[in-house]
Assembly symmetry: C2
Amino acid sequence: MTRPFNFSAGPAALPEEVLQQAASEMLDWHGSGMGVMEMSHRGKEFISIAQQAEADLRALLAVPTSHKILFMQGGALAENAILPMNLSRAGRTDYVITGSWSQKSAKEARKYSDVHIAASNEADRHTRLPAPGSWQLSDDASYVHVCSNETIHGVEMHELPDLAALGSRAPLVIDCSSHILSRGIDWSRVGVAYGGAQKNIGPSGLTLIIVREDLLGHALPITPSAFDYRIVADNESMYNTPPTYAWYIAGLVFQWIQRQTEVTPAGPVSGLAAMEARAIAKSSLVYDFVDGSGFYFNQVARDCRSRMNIPFFLHDESLNDAFLSGAKAAGLLQLKGHKSVGGMRASIYNAMPMAGVQALVDYMKHFATTHG
Amino acid sequence: MTRPFNFSAGPAALPEEVLQQAASEMLDWHGSGMGVMEMSHRGKEFISIAQQAEADLRALLAVPTSHKILFMQGGALAENAILPMNLSRAGRTDYVITGSWSQKSAKEARKYSDVHIAASNEADRHTRLPAPGSWQLSDDASYVHVCSNETIHGVEMHELPDLAALGSRAPLVIDCSSHILSRGIDWSRVGVAYGGAQKNIGPSGLTLIIVREDLLGHALPITPSAFDYRIVADNESMYNTPPTYAWYIAGLVFQWIQRQTEVTPAGPVSGLAAMEARAIAKSSLVYDFVDGSGFYFNQVARDCRSRMNIPFFLHDESLNDAFLSGAKAAGLLQLKGHKSVGGMRASIYNAMPMAGVQALVDYMKHFATTHG
């Protein structure tokens, strides 16, 4: 079966193997006589699925025992409120603005804390990242928030800031929704990492929170119990009924990542390293072509470009509709850029094979030749 | 394929036809080249799925145009906070205690409002419902909250209270998680109906809120934007990425209900009426057998018994383990009662066929005969 290539920014394409396995287990998981959707979250079958998924994620991302993994609901947008409810102590919080998502996060946090904008790339129209050395960090912030990959503007932090070296004692919080599991995370620098699942992990409706244990237990009194990190952690993410099916699919995706291998100049790699090698190769293919094309362009500074989300534009925007309809006819779906930015966007998450990216570049080349 | 019968209280069994259709569409929904999990929630494919599901639910439950239908996240436990955030105006709220779930709701609401317990059946150990005429309603409550079916204690309101007739001007709020779509709802008496999906609707991780439009727009300032009914309604439940796959499965369940027919003494019925006729027939079969058995008993007053959740006990509790292991061997799963109540519980939601209930009663009969 040949499926089109789906460049949606999220919910996004999933590995075919994962979907096939999910379909085959839909009515009967491992001889239990139940599909996963039908299992009590407190039964031994689902608990085994849940624990395996957590262990696999912990191994893939090398999450240290100092950090708890929570499986929650609401996506990153709800988390924009849930985070300051849990961590701000109603005091000062620092936000670094690098695009639409960090802007939304800062705006929502104002309901619960005294938000200080430590840095912003708004004057650069979100096309480059403010150097950490230039950030104006507060002395007393409860945390410093960054979005480590901006899905809409296509900027990515290729190194997380070392807040201690910058003179801050605050924990770093990263919204890594749109590049989680495409690269490693330096946990020595991170207090909280959170992300909606619907880009690199699985179905929408699941949010992952990886939180350093000393940051639990400080929720504001108005925090809903179901969103209090301490309560969720103490109940192993089963204080309220978790999104069981999404958790299961996430687990299948984790196992799929574990099975992946890739040959690099430094030798064969697997798991997360294979995902990173592929992300570098796939994104380089697109950026190199765009930069050399004379027909398309990308405005993001080279050292800040996202490996996951590639916004690009045609110099002649009157050709946009023709580009998109031709792409669809060529089996390349959901390439339209976000309405706030315009142009095109190719989201090339873990599940997008190199063949899909090659097909995209081939099409872009052909379109440029016939319309240039 | 013969599957065991699954009596889980939730997440619960789904109709086989629904699971089969979901499996067959997993990699390619209607020739779109995408599975439903992989679709942008803003694309025309998913929007058509979402709108159809909403329209089907509105038709099934005869929801009037005065009420909006919201597809949210967090389940009923999160809703216990989200509801008072949206409706309490930080003032007085009335709660009627009828079991574990209404107790949890009232406890959580104390964070946001001045909770008044208008009535409680705690002295009766949640085995009968306090008559609405005896409720001590406040003059100035923002709403009156009831749980119209208590999943753990197995008590169900077979008629919703008419608050206006009781002298209250407050809107009635019903948590109907565990019996929604098993009977009609008298919307003239209801301001808000809410429920987690994982009993009668679909996968966990989806919460349905049906809210009268005049009750929107009063959220407390600390309400997360993603949980502000007004914002969710204005964005057609797509302010944040909704749980798309759960929404899709819910839609398949709605279509399945529409297709169901049942012959009753009054003639053939279909849709919701068929679900209600089956629920009456299935629950009567169990209750009648239990009452006449001398071996099992149920403590709930007859006019308050739930058609969905039937807790029952063996007079000789030392036989509990033998009962459960024999049930499992007979293909009858998840019959253990909730830990707070003990004994057994058979949850017989819409997806449980009469054949499953008959198999349960046959087993109970046989067990009583061999152990009596």
